[in-house]
């Protein structure tokens, strides 16, 4: 008997008990759909994260100092000079001095979610930001400790109706003049990147009574990041003589770490989804065993009429494979649909990967073979007379 004949037989037998076939397939459908949806959403998430890293500037190197109370320290001027001396390697640097728990006030209105950060005039270019109104902080602002600020769209909309340029807001009691508004980058939400006020770091350091301990140094271009990092490391070690006093990490390294974590997370999720595939497979095995038992007499008749063990084996294996293959195909469509729908709900663009589809389909077909084989083997080994007498 040929495979096509076995296949026709399988389809016929599945059609004869549609409800049961459907329920058996459901396990595979859910398993395959879960794997595809999860992988697609994880892919979407990681490409989102990677692209937001890229927005932040993949040439950047983050430096932070650990206060140790040593007698040697690196001041912003030192960092500035270091960068200026190696223009072949560095584009520039900006300190980032976060003023913790700053109170921001305009008239009688208060905001305590806004983050207030002291930066240099290069901050916008280094971090790929731009102003949509007014101008960014200038060298003069920084040098002369001008109380000027650039605000995010949330801050603008929170305090002002429409135009904010030239208006005044108070930070920790000090009045600041708004000179620019940043382009919206995070949907204008509270506590997001748009809920930010940027001021000259020289001013920030003064009103917060803290030293600058974080810097973002930008390499000249992508190829120079590693060398820039090494040079910076060398410089810092020479100056401070203690590796524990600072940490340096490039944006690329940070992106790799996040990518790695995401990869592991998606492995875990796929593993969990894989369990549902396994459960689906056990469902198939269970149904096949029932089916073999139920059809013992039929198997006996077929054997009496000349079916070889291979004929019987292939009949049941093909039936199992057909069940799981149909389930697999339905699962693909369902999984793609699910990924799209969930992606839309959480605002992620699901990235459907061919490998996820390939893997889950081959796994579901494999399950069909593996879990269909044992019941089928059992059927093939039945002694004809015992099978015929079975009730």
């Amino acid at each position: 008997m040929s495979i096509t004949q076995s296949f026709m037989l399988a389809v016929k037998s599945l059609a004869a008990s549609k409800m049961r076939a459907f329920l058996t397939m459901l396990g595979i459908v859910i398993g395959v759909a879960a794997v595809i949806a999860l992988v697609s959403l994880m892919n979407g998430m990681s490409s989102l994260i990677v692209s937001s890293f890229e927005d932040m500037g993949m040439n950047n190197i983050m430096v932070s100092f650990t206060p140790r109370g040593g007698n040697r320290e690196i001041k912003p001027e030192d960092m500035q000079k270091f960068c200026d001396d190696r223009e072949d390697l560095y584009f520039g640097m900006t300190p980032t001095l976060n003023i913790m728990g700053a109170t921001v006030k305009q008239g009688t209105v208060n905001s305590n979610t806004s983050s207030v950060v002291g930066v240099s005039e290069l901050y916008d270019e280094i971090n790929g930001k731009a102003v949509e109104q007014g101008t960014f902080l200038t060298y003069v602002d920084v040098e002369n400790r001008m109380r000027n600020c650039v605000i995010g769209t949330y801050v603008r909309d929170y305090f002002f109706d429409g135009d904010a340029i030239g208006k005044t807001i108070k930070i920790n009691g000090y009045p600041f003049c708004v000179t620019g508004v940043l382009e919206e980058s995070a949907g204008g939400e509270q506590s997001s990147a748009d809920d930010t006020i940027l001021i000259p770091y020289t001013v920030a350091s003064k009103i917060a009574f803290t030293r600058v301990s974080n810097y973002t140094v930008a390499a000249k271009d992508n190829e120079h990041v590693e060398e820039a990092k090494k040079e910076l490391q060398k410089y810092l070690f020479n100056e401070l003589g203690d590796e524990d006093m600072y940490t340096i990490i490039t944006m690329q390294e940070a992106a790799n770490i996040v990518d790695d974590i995401l990869g592991k997370m998606s492995m875990v999720l796929v593993g969990i989804a894989g369990i549902s595939l396994l459960v689906g497979g056990i469902g198939i095995m269970n149904i096949m065993l029932v089916s073999v038992t139920e059809r013992t007499r039929e198997i006996g008749i077929r054997k009496a009429l000349g079916a070889t063990p291979w004929d019987i084996l292939s009949q049941f294996v093909v039936e199992a494979i057909t069940t799981s293959a149909i389930g697999g195909v339905v699962g693909i469509f369902f999984g793609v649909f699910l990924a799209r729908m969930l992606g839309n709900m959480v605002g992620l663009r699901a990235v459907i990967s061919a490998s996820a589809i390939l893997i889950s389909v081959s796994v579901s077909a494999g399950i069909g073979i593996a879990f269909g084989y044992f019941p089928a083997k059992k059927a093939a080994k039945l002694n004809p007379i015992d099978a015929l007498r079975y009730d």
Partner: protein
């Protein structure tokens, strides 16, 4: 062509009380084209004998030669081959597959023989025509009467045109008129096509018609009557 050499079928051998000697040392030879009836009381071992002849069951001891080959030396696959091509089995309980139509049931042995779809249809249809069921091919077994089902199972046995037909009480469940029709049909097969027939029956009037009758009692042959001998 069918030869039993001291065949035994013993269930639960060695367990003093439970031991059943269903076939207790039987030897015979059935030649090509013979028409043999097997008679005997219920439980005497007729079906057991028949199942061994049909390669559905294996003897506990003894040699069964089919066309000169010892069946016990054959592989599962070869046995399937023999059941498919050499033998046609007609069961007392019809044994049609309920989910398949009459035509599909009759097609089964041809399917396992590897015959293509259209030829299979053709041969099955002709076999059903012979037994007078041409107008019932699309029906399912449950939609037919007992006699019609038995005729369908005969059609299935002869569709592949096997040299031997084994029938275990083919008329047992039928009224005497229908039983007679079926017997006439089987006789015709034997006379016209030279098919070897082995038939189990309880009905003395049917046994009467058989040119040769084997009488079995308690798993032993107690009589082997050939009509020609009497004539």
């Amino acid at each position: 062509m069918i030869e039993f050499r001291d065949i035994y079928k013993i269930y639960n051998e060695g367990e003093a009380e439970n031991e059943v000697r269903a076939v207790d040392g039987i030897s015979f030879f059935i030649g090509r084209g013979e028409f043999v009836g097997i008679v005997g009381a219920s439980g005497s071992g007729k079906s057991t004998c028949m199942n061994i002849i049909g390669c559905l069951d294996v003897p506990t001891r003894g040699q069964y030669l089919l066309n000169g080959t010892d069946v016990s030396t054959m592989s599962e696959k070869q046995l399937a081959h023999v059941r498919n091509r050499e033998l046609g089995f007609v069961f007392q309980q019809y044994n049609l597959i309920p989910k398949l139509t009459i035509l599909e049931n009759v097609e089964l042995p041809l399917l396992y023989k590897g015959i293509g779809q259209s030829e299979r249809r053709e041969l099955s249809f002709r076999a059903l025509e012979k037994v007078g069921l041409a107008d019932r091919v699309k029906k399912y077994p449950a939609q037919l009467s007992g006699g019609q089902q038995q005729r369908a199972s005969i059609a299935r046995a002869l569709a592949g045109n096997p040299p031997v037909i084994l029938a275990d009480e083919p008329t047992g469940a039928l009224d005497s008129k229908t039983g007679r029709d079926i017997l006439e049909f089987i006789k015709k097969l034997n006379e016209e096509d030279g098919t070897t027939i082995v038939l189990i029956t309880h009905d003395p009037s049917i046994a009467e018609e058989c040119p040769r009758v084997l009488k079995i009692h308690d798993g032993k042959i107690i009589d082997d009557i050939r009509k020609q001998d009497i004539k």
